[in-house]
Symmetry: D2
Subunit: 257 residues, 4 copies
């Protein structure tokens, strides 16, 4: 059987769980979380990368074989996002970039328009661009058109752990997009990651739910298992939902025989 | 670290996924499903056990090291359930028994009263009794009192694949019962099994969703992974849900530095 | 067109909203709430009825033309419920009785078994018995059999305002019961009362959500409107749910004409 | 007490239920639906307005005192929407316009970008512009900025009757927008309209669910009642949701007194 690989920007991945580096009590746990989650892509806010001292640099906890996905958090416009992306590449962080353009400070919702602009510019410059977005079919199609390597609709506002609150809109993206759909933000429990994968999402990005768990290492593995379970269920074909009961065991005649 | 084992009636189990034998297109697939799901307990309707011919006997597909959980499907009263249980034991099927007493032929809902009666009689006779029930705290406590080894509340009517529709009532059972709570019936997708485990259920029993999947072997493994993910998340401690967004990456000041 | 009346124990009612007397900051508001809600049946805990002083007696706030539905709250067994019911009738509170038998002090869940017992005794004594119950089809049928005038399944534990959390089980009762199904407990918002009626419930009982509202008089009317809306929708026939969009306005050709 | 009026573009309305003219089996029923729903604003697709024959003209069923809300359905771009709007005004249909710009023919989702463009142009020309949109806070703020009189986020794709599937996103709009938020599309039952109003929506637009009901006149009144109920509940203040039960009646000591 052919392996079920996720292809982003020409790179083939075994893992469909992307993780983040924010909010850990102690960043030293990150290598163990990478290991337990078997994630191959990790996002890191450029702001946290200290290029002058090695002391508190988040980078020292990230193994060399991970694909770095620097993100542009802090950017309020396309232009700012573009500048951060270029800085990241110049600093040797590779050519993957997660676009986050956020001007709303309360709900931290992405600005889809600015995100399209930044995606277009950066894709042309050879970046593998993964834009974080409010789920909106027209925007997703536009992002694909201007060169996004995937689209990353939010399930719920960042860090809320509220789950797949935009499920109906994400399902439409899954149905219509040609590029991978990666659910990003809002996923608070493994069951929610599993559900996203059952719906047909290509991958999920989970940060807060792992980083703030009682035991992030255990939770990293839990998400790995949940993502694999959801993917397998999707590929295998989930059975139909019925209204009336359907016996799994025969119900009649046993004692009358 | 101590292993996280499930104790039912004094027997310690690694797996928290119980499976069934009903509804497979071809029973010959059962050994592979047992293997992929790593389940250690399998339920089988007594009615399907043919003691005279070996031809179509479901038993030939069940490895010797599985714990058999014969069920009393077809019973409409406590008395009938008791007779079936005794037959099962006499036929060498061991002393585990899943009580199903169902008089309603449309929704296949269990009769909690008759179930208590049958549980009491069979527990006194040395059976390890797992009663299938409508989720009801008073009934669950009574079942524990009369000797049930676990309680098996339904998530939704049998075979509907509708998921955890009685979640609030099951959560109360999880909160208040001393014996294991095993969610039985209704679970249609791995994400739903995962959710049940995250809530603190001790195990789940899944039949229809595996047996009728496009690929039951793959689906068996998917449920195994989902159950493990949910259990790990429960043990690790799931993070809190918030209303407003909480940044996982720093949002301010990057470009102004 | 024939009027759409609710028949309980031979009494025909225009209103399908039953209300309660508990938890008001000031009981003096009760007449206005009765008026705004247009309810015709009001439940009152026998414990709150002071037969010796008229001072703080809840009864003085209830107009003579309301149907009193004394309840047996405080009863932990069928026997206690029966005694309370008889006291209520002896005290001139009529022959309607709402059975509440609750031994669990945390979730305040009814004991269905004791409730059946009390219902049987009191129905034989000529009471119009409305039993509060955990939603369970077998129990509902038994209650009908022993003489209940209606069944009152809980939507969620008393006072939680959590809504119709047992929807699937209540739908089965609606489908199968011959006597009126009155959703009692858990309804926290008019939309939830409306939803219960759309599903086909015959009535709802609302107490906490009205009594603890910012403005109980306004909320009483809101529930009246919501219940009427849900009932009308049920009678009119709710339209079907579709997965793909269906235009309400023509989508093509306008400008090309 | 001051009346609770809805102000759109300087016009004060008593009714918070906007209705539509599409999908009725027989348009002759429209006057009765207007009457039963007490709606004051009705949307009509320009395409359906026949300016040459009076025969099948939808306009003849709309009373003079209704506010006409012509919509631009059929428009695939801002430019087309603008042309339709101008035609509507030129034809004497007033200066209210509902912008619908839809290029996706499967889910009929609005194109938020084109909608902003059309809104800006038409607001400058003196129209009272009500844009139909995918719920997105950044877009809603932009629409307000360029002159929208209200924003009309979808609850679910048009005509699906699926309800408030974008609830979390709509709540954010309600929280942050200064102009009225009118939930448009997807509302299939009165309970869903009621829920939207409880959340704080300023109004709802319902077409399919009324037009395709078994009895559209009865359903029109049901929606009126549900909208009023939800509005009243919102104004009155809905009570809090609790996890554990809270007795509405006293639970102890009755018989021990």
């Amino acid at each position: 059987m052919a392996k079920d690989l996720l292809n982003i920007g020409g790179v083939e991945l075994n893992s469909r769980l992307l993780i983040g580096t924010g909010k850990f009590n102690d960043d030293a746990i990150i290598p163990d979380v990478i290991n337990s989650s078997q994630s191959q892509v990790i996002t890191v806010a450029m702001r946290r990368v200290d290029f002058e001292t090695s002391q508190e640099n988040i980078m020292k906890y990230i193994p060399k074989d991970m694909i770095l996905l620097p993100n542009t958090s802090g950017a309020r416009t396309a232009e700012e996002a573009v500048r951060i992306a270029r800085l990241a590449r110049a600093a040797g962080m590779g050519n993957w970039i997660k676009i986050e353009v956020i001007s709303d400070q309360k709900y931290l919702l992405p600005d889809n328009y600015e995100t399209i602009k930044a995606t277009e510019i950066l894709a042309k410059e050879g970046f593998i661009v993964l834009p974080y977005m409010s789920p909106d079919l027209m925007v997703a199609k536009k992002l694909e058109e201007v060169g996004a390597a995937a689209v990353m609709p939010l399930g719920a506002p960042i860090g809320t752990n509220r789950g797949l609150k935009t499920k109906e809109l994400i399902e439409i993206l899954i149905d219509e997009c040609e590029k991978p759909v990666i659910v990003d933000a809002g996923i608070g429990k493994p069951s929610q990651a599993c559900e996203a994968m059952e719906l047909g999402a290509d991958a999920v990005l989970v940060n807060t739910a792992i980083a703030t768990a009682g035991d992030p290492i255990v939770m990293g593995e839990a998400f790995k298992n949940a993502v694999e379970a959801g993917r397998a269920a999707y590929l295998s074909g989930v059975g139909g939902v019925t209204k009336r009961a359907v016996a799994s065991s025969p119900l009649t005649g046993f004692l009358s025989n």
